[in-house]
Amino acid sequence: MAQCTSCQFHNMPGASNCGRCGASMTLAKAAISVHPPRATRWAKFWRKTFLARLWTTFKNRWSDVAEKIHLEPSADLPGMDILVRLIVPGWPQQISGNALFGKCLFGAYFACGLLALVLIGTSFSSFLISAALTIHASSIYDVAHRSTFSRGGRISRFFLGIGIIGFFLYIPLYSRISNYASPFAIQLDRIPFRAGEVLVANRQAYLSSAPQPGDIVTYLMPEAEIAIPGARYVVRGERVDRVLAGPNQKIVWNDGKLTIDGNPSLWLPLNPENMPEKLELFVPNGYYLIFPSTELMDAQRRGRVFSFNVPWEKWSLVPRHNIHGRVYWRSWPPLRMGLIR
């Protein structure tokens, strides 16, 4: 009877492996190296460092996650059902039995995308958009990686997927979003806005509907010349302020109160402090009343401040085609982020 050295089981004579534990019975003289691998002094030193421990923890956690989400290739060609779902990151993974990985991809993509939209127009937003695109690319690569064992095949399928998704999804999406969420930065302190703030405007808002009183809009200010001693300024460019009245309406501004056709208005300009005490205007057809209350009411030259006569009538009546879009969101700074009303 031959006894197994591992489990002490008595096997039949001539048995090559232990009947209980499977250990080799002919191991004694087998040609196997019996000298274990050794760590170098440097390796031992490195393993004791904080960074090495951190790296090991990360590696182990990742291997646990990778085990759960099955990252091994299966060599099955993806079906049409998977290819169609490439449009949403994580969706192909969800339906191919890799739900956790799919959820992780979609969750990360959604979070990055949402945050990028909230912070649109800032450098953080650009970073987050890049991250979201990378996650989508990872989802596509995962499908390409699983579809074949060939390296060339994986690369070509990956780039094909990226090209198709980029052409049919992201280019149209970009053109739409850039119209509905067009960011611009405020260059100078203009109450209630501050220099450096990023506002978001919808440039499509007035393509099919007319501006309404109360809307805060971005518009092209009617050009006007300002003369101060020793200098002449030309004021022009885009400004942000509130639409107060529409065409064919008569407005009276009296001591901080606005009446339209004799009725008191709910709306005030963005910075009523800048307004004159009294003003009466009639809005002609095709024009809208927008007081340039955020405009600077004085000019500086060689350290001296000069007040000038504001041409209210000229500046306040804005042709409809000069109203470019509705401003609805302040994306920067984070503490002042929110809807603009």
Binding site: T5, A28, K29, A30, T57
Partner: protein
């Protein structure tokens, strides 16, 4: 007639047929293992590792040799290599409980506690019993701050009455920075083997960790009495003499004779 019988060889003598060799009986190879264990008892883990390898050169079917190698690699802070080596050994002895425990210990010390726990479960489910499996289990429990570590270590001692077991438990506790628990175990090892220097040395180190300087000094001195050439004990004793501040120490340093 054999095929090469008519070849002309330089010696001119006909080739002698080889003696039928018998493999050495297991009893003859065991001394390497015994020597390795003896080296372990003295804390010479490098030598123990070499002796285990030497034993395996003679007979690769000695499971104790493989297990010993893994244990020594772990003690020598080469947990990654221990894990790798135990995996190789497990290919030769699938499901061996001690090797599974060795792999669990290696994996745990290289930072993968979750898988280590799974392997420890498998090692306890494997056939047979051994102190080492419970020792590893106890280490995993102690590392995760679970109170069951005491129970596991007690089971280890129940399985093997050798003083090396409580000593190795104390070393585990020391590694996990639990010197008060280590002291309890190492005292037991010292009681069991008062004539061996290594338990005295570990006891001295444990007491030093706990700040029991006079006790540590006594233990280290006892270690040096039993083995005067013990460098580590000598160094620890000297650092005890030099470390800290007291009026008596300063007096001795300035006026006392060396």
């Amino acid at each position: 007639m054999a095929r090469f019988d008519k070849l002309e060889l330089e010696s001119g003598s006909p080739r002698q047929p080889e003696r039928p060799s018998k493999s050495k009986p297991v009893r003859e190879q065991v001394p390497w293992i015994d020597q390795a264990i003896e080296e372990r008892r003295c804390g010479n883990y490098e030598s123990a590792l070499r002796l285990y390898s030497r034993a395996l050169e003679d007979d690769k079917s000695l499971v104790n040799g493989w297990v010993g190698q893994v244990q020594m690699l772990v003690v020598l802070e080469e947990a990654v290599e221990a894990e790798l080596w135990s995996r190789k050994a497990l290919e030769l002895f699938p499901g061996n409980g001690d090797l599974l425990a060795g792999r669990a210990q290696g994996m745990h010390r290289s930072g993968n506690a979750q898988q280590a726990m799974g392997l420890s479960d498998s090692s306890l489910k494997a056939t047979g019993q051994s102190a080492y499996r419970w020792l590893v289990r106890g280490e995993l429990m102690a590392a995760t701050k679970q109170e069951t570590d005491r129970h596991c270590f007690d089971k280890a001692i129940e399985n093997d009455k050798d003083w090396l077991v409580p000593l190795e438990i104390a070393q585990v506790y020391l590694r996990l920075e639990m010197p008060s628990r280590a002291l309890e175990r190492v005292r037991r090892a010292v009681e069991m083997a008062p004539d061996r220097f290594f338990p005295w040395y570990i006891q001295g180190e444990t007491e030093r960790e706990l700040g029991l300087e006079s006790a540590a000094r006594k233990s280290l001195q006892r270690c040096l009495e039993l083995y005067p050439n013990h460098d580590e004990a000598d160094r620890s004793l000297r650092s005890l003499d030099q470390g800290g501040w007291s009026f008596g120490r300063v007096w001795r340093r300035v006026f006392g004779n060396r």
